[in-house]
Symmetry: C2
Subunit: 381 residues, 2 copies
Amino acid sequence: MQIVKVQTPSAQYQIFAGTGLIDTLEARMTRILAALGRKLPKRLFILTSPEIWDLWSKRILSSFTNTPTILLLPAGERHKNLRSVEKLLREMAKAGGDRSSILIAFGGGIVGDVGGFVASSFMRGIDFFQVPSTFLSQVDSSVGGKVGVNLPEGKNLVGAFHHPLAVFADMELLNTLPDRELRAGLFESVKAGMIRDRALLRFMEENSARILGRDTASLEKVIAASIRMKADVVSKDERENGLRMILNLGHTLGHAIESVTGYRKLLHGEAVGWGIIAALHLGRKRRTISEAQFDRLMGLVYLYGPLPALKLNPQRLVDASAKDKKHRGDVRRFILPVGIGDATVVEDVTTDELLEAARYMLALAKALPEQVEVKVLAAHG
Amino acid sequence: MQIVKVQTPSAQYQIFAGTGLIDTLEARMTRILAALGRKLPKRLFILTSPEIWDLWSKRILSSFTNTPTILLLPAGERHKNLRSVEKLLREMAKAGGDRSSILIAFGGGIVGDVGGFVASSFMRGIDFFQVPSTFLSQVDSSVGGKVGVNLPEGKNLVGAFHHPLAVFADMELLNTLPDRELRAGLFESVKAGMIRDRALLRFMEENSARILGRDTASLEKVIAASIRMKADVVSKDERENGLRMILNLGHTLGHAIESVTGYRKLLHGEAVGWGIIAALHLGRKRRTISEAQFDRLMGLVYLYGPLPALKLNPQRLVDASAKDKKHRGDVRRFILPVGIGDATVVEDVTTDELLEAARYMLALAKALPEQVEVKVLAAHG
């Protein structure tokens, strides 16, 4: 097991990454609360999705002497909205939840985001724990305190900064994760390596077969390094006033792809994968990376493909990206890779540049899925 | 003009109480932002209610060079819900609001509570200013950072702690306030005196005619003292872990009255007025106040009456108070007056004691409205 510390101006807590964590949840939570001079409350809520709960309820519940109240959120981005939040808050009020109640968000990124926002707003804020069940939620969304839901006008437009008391990233939960979701999640680790962790990047280049083959030691290494990178960035810039923005490498166009396709066609990590390709192209054009570095980084993206094919109008993508909330005032902000293992925030990317990057990406997305697939198969063998 | 400072672990800002503030809003906000190294953003939202806006829009808008976007929230507690929050958030997204946008909550307590919660959750939190337009919102709800909305299961069950960048309490706004609302609001000042400000209490005893007659200097004194008391308590205990609980004197049964009557029959301050009477009775029984002190404090409550008559089942009130979120775990908490100008939090009030206090209060509420009215008329003369 590895332990990563998060320390921001508003919170200080640990992220545990390893195996067997879900069998000892109550004891671990009790210990963490005791260190804060508190006890496990009477009313404990677990927010989860029906699918996840079917798989793991027995093992989770066997660790509890005090049976928690189960709240269910149906799977899917379309349930990540204020209506679900209201429904859950009302269930908690009806079940006798009070200010000392604690919520455990057990599931993927959507459960974590919705659960965190429910915890942040129930009676003006109760404590919560994160037990992320997908690769993506373990390395990304459970780290950093960003919680919230979507509006019809855009993704994550409503939310809060609300840190958990701890995160338990149990790798055993990944055993039931479909290959496609693992691959998609790994693009956040690819991103982590590109923006701030050269060693992780090299490890992912050299061990893609082991990682995609779910070798426990290799996966733990990737997960812990990804968490550590994000925890480090978040500890230095909790509210995304500066450094934290680099975490958005690949996300400007990634979010635009998700928005234009109604969040239905691609997994988040896949959209980010395509967004990274656009960012690499723009980096090459702006010479923040050389042609050789571009080739190397594109090779890394390919290793964790195949990315699903896309047929979209580039102008629509650019229009959608203008609505992204990373767009502050009239400034168009973009994250560019800098060499191998670094990144920078630029504020002056023009619509034409973005359009060209979108075109480059979409040409690949239309033409190259087979080639990408071949490369990945090779990496597996 | 008087300036009161609020300084909590999470925020530091000033409350301005005086006249002419609404004619100089833009300049004042610009100065406050400049001190934070920031500029007035392009997108400024004013959340207000149609009635308030009809009265004051011209004067408010004349102070702005950059015309704000107006968001309207219909008056009434029944609009203080998540549906209104969602509607407002969507309007802000559609109008191009971004992270740098600022919201001005201009209206009574409901506008402030809803507006504050909208500001706290839009894009995970934007800055806001409070311009409270009622006595109650000036002395109470705009101070302290508590924002939120109701659920069908109870009042203020959803919310956040989100402090404004400043509060502008312009007493001119009170000119259009109906007498009943002024009287109701004054019960929060009565409470302020009882729990922590003996000088305010004496001033309110000796000057009730001037205060109820809206003498500017007297009102400013009451408002500023009430704000100062609350700001002081909140600065010492932002999250209501201890001291801040004393602010709930009169609120345990006050909230229960509001809940049982569906928030329609009484104004909040009136319900608190009745709740204070119940608390005084319980204080007398527990001997935290003497009989003489009980009589003196009851006299003060009567001075600011008449409180509307009430016919309720005491058991229903007690049941409703158990759902109050000040009720932590199994402990029944209650705030008792201690002598003149002090209060304490007790954790062991039994259902029987509460029931008896409710019965005492309801007997008065059924039998004494005429007597109360006579006393008030006397005070006016």
